[in-house]
């Protein structure tokens, strides 16, 4: 089959590799009909996530048709149409029973690597480093799905792939971010980063009762999309704009009730701290660039909530923890507990409350992935979301 492989930092290739096989009794093999490139794939592309190795198949947002199931999979049959959650969960450990699916005890074969780095291991993820399980990803024509009795969401309606594909990660991730923000009706919520997760976080914040959402980014096409959802936008790259002042001005000096960092470890900052973080990361004195996190802690109101869907990987420098303590804020974060959100969010799509496909800007074939990773990283061509049809042989 054809698959998009990580071959080193800033080096992605579409290669012909072996087809996946059933390896365990609860596995399924799916023929992938649509897959996407995630913002968090850029952390891999840019070499920020350790234990990526040459030859790893990328991709954790995918859906398709069941091709084959293992002998213990009784809920799925060949021909079923499914969306696959990017976190792999066994369904039986204490964490799965508590519905903290992203903390599954049993899905990471390389748990010892994550234990060394983080103390305890979270669930395995598709296509996201050996530390996170070393599972082959879904930017390919086929994929093996472990614990297929637990994860895949069956699509029984005739909704187009593009409308349900983002149930694999970014829609639930944005929704859980809004839920983690503990929004009360009437709240004002600030969202840093208007990429796909930020978009769904904004939409979800309104669904959960936010009266006002303030969206912060620098890319005009993203800010435009945020306004189309009803958010007020702040372009931090404009010279006369201070984000902290803007948020005070827009909240009567009180600060947002909740802040969401939908940017994560590769934040850009026009300020001196942006340069500071780039130098420290280059010197291996810091692994992540936390300028959005710093700003969000500073911006949130007293007793407010900071929700962090953006990915962080390692050690962060000069995080103003005194401000977090001094204001008594709550912080909630982590990989998405996918399995909790997929079905209810599918129902919202089926009811026509939201059509997640509005964020798609590019539709490509597998062979175009290497060039499109670069476009995605450099934010060229007004890119907002890239979707791949792995069986197409016509360049878009």
């Amino acid at each position: 089959m054809k698959a998009v492989c990580w071959m080193g930092k800033s080096n992605v290739e579409t290669l012909t590799v072996a087809d996946p096989q059933l390896l365990n009794p609860h596995d399924a093999i799916i023929k992938i009909t649509r897959t996407a490139i995630c913002g968090s794939d850029l952390h891999l592309y840019d070499g920020f996530i350790p234990t990526m190795e040459s030859g790893d198949i990328l991709g954790h947002e995918f859906m398709g048709i069941i091709e084959e199931v293992g002998k213990e999979v009784t809920n799925l049959r060949r021909g079923d149409r499914v969306v696959i959650p990017f976190t792999i969960a066994c369904g039986n450990c204490l964490f799965c029973k508590k519905k903290i699916w992203a903390a599954c005890d049993n899905s990471n074969p390389n748990a010892h690597l994550m234990e060394a780095a983080y103390g305890y291991s979270g669930s395995g993820l598709f296509g996201y480093s050996h530390m996170m399980g070393g599972y082959a990803g879904g930017q390919a024509q086929y994929a093996r799905v472990p614990f297929a009795n637990v994860g895949p969401l069956k699509i029984e309606s005739d909704l187009h792939d593009e409308k349900v594909l983002f149930l694999s990660d970014i829609f639930p991730t944005g929704y859980m971010a809004a839920e983690n923000a503990q929004i009360q009706p009437g709240d004002t919520v600030a969202v840093w980063g208007c990429g796909p997760v930020g978009q769904f976080a904004i939409a979800s914040a309104f669904m959960l009762g936010a009266a006002r959402v303030i969206a912060i980014d620098r890319l005009p096409e993203r800010l435009e999309m945020a306004r189309s959802l009803g958010a007020i936008t702040v372009d931090y790259s404009e010279e006369d704009v201070s984000v902290l002042s803007a948020l005070k001005d827009l909240t009567a000096g009180t600060g947002p009730d909740a802040c969401m960092d939908a940017v994560g470890l590769e934040a850009h900052s026009a300020q001196l701290q942006g340069t500071y973080d780039k130098i420290k990361v280059a010197l291996l004195m810091e692994t992540d660039r936390p300028s959005v996190l710093r700003q969000a802690i500073q911006a949130v109101r007293k007793g407010g909530t900071l929700s962090i869907p953006g990915v962080y990987g390692g050690l962060l420098d000069k995080v103003p923890f005194g401000a977090a303590f001094g204001k008594g804020i709550t912080m909630k974060m982590g990989q998405t507990n996918m399995h909790t959100y997929m079905k209810p969010l599918l129902e919202r799509i089926e009811k026509g409350q939201i059509d997640p496909s509005y964020i798609i800007s590019h539709r490509i074939m597998l062979e175009q992935a290497p060039e499109m990773y670069k476009v995605w990283r450099d934010k060229k061509e007004n890119v907002t979301k890239i979707v791949i049809d792995p069986w197409s042989d016509v360049a878009a």
């Binding site: 040459s54 030859g55 082959a136 614990f147």
Partner: protein
């Protein structure tokens, strides 16, 4: 002081003493230190299963190759004895093992009685505080020196880590009926460094099959 706090509606009974235990007389008990040629590893897991079922799974030594790394074969040779064969890349080490203590649903202790490996161990099964599953704690001792280092080289896995990984496999098998694995997945060219790293990640060691 034992009566200082009268109301503790959810408080647990203090556990009884066992060699592998982590608590003794209400105090945390650290694992034994490596010395005098002995190396120790203690590891534990919280498993969503009945302690009697877990005991039975562990006690069925002939099924050990399903969940223990590099164990090629175990043959029961007596009521309390068995013969173990460990194999990697065509080389084998063998030893006999004897069960010293056998308390159904609670505890199994064993030691090797001749052969290429000198080891002893204990596993205990306890209800977790608050009824959140069964705590399985393993204490394993290795006599180190030439033999043990040979073993380490043999199996390409530090023996302490092997005990930790085996308990992880045991838990996965008990909770899900399988052991998570990624070997034989498709991938692009690993290159020289990628192949070396697969070894440091422990990915060169075959994941036990999960069934016999």
């Amino acid at each position: 002081m034992a009566h200082a706090l009268k109301e503790k509606p959810y408080a647990e009974e203090l556990p009884v003493a066992a060699a592998a235990a982590t608590i003794l007389g209400g105090r945390y008990l650290p694992p034994p230190e490596d010395k005098d040629g002995k190396r120790w590893v203690r590891t534990s897991a919280l498993i969503q299963a009945d302690p009697h079922d877990l005991y039975a799974m562990w006690r069925n030594v002939e099924a050990a190759p399903a969940w223990q790394e590099q164990i090629a074969q175990v043959v029961v040779t007596g009521e309390r004895t068995s013969h173990w064969v460990m194999e990697t890349e065509g080389k084998a080490i063998e030893w006999d093992s004897e069960i010293l203590a056998d308390e159904p649903g609670k505890r199994i202790a064993w030691r090797s009685i001749g052969g290429d490996s000198d080891n002893a161990g204990e596993v205990i099964f306890e209800d977790s505080p608050g009824g959140r599953g069964t705590i399985v704690t393993v204490l394993q001792e290795f006599r180190m020196g030439k033999l043990a280092s040979t073993w380490e080289t043999f199996v390409n896995r530090n023996p302490k880590q092997a005990v930790i990984e085996n308990l992880r496999h045991f838990k996965a098998l008990a909770e899900t009926g399988e052991i998570p694995r990624t070997e034989n997945q498709p991938h692009g060219d690993r290159g020289v460094i990628g192949k070396m790293k697969a070894s440091t990640y422990g990915e060169k060691i075959a994941t036990p099959p999960g069934s016999n």
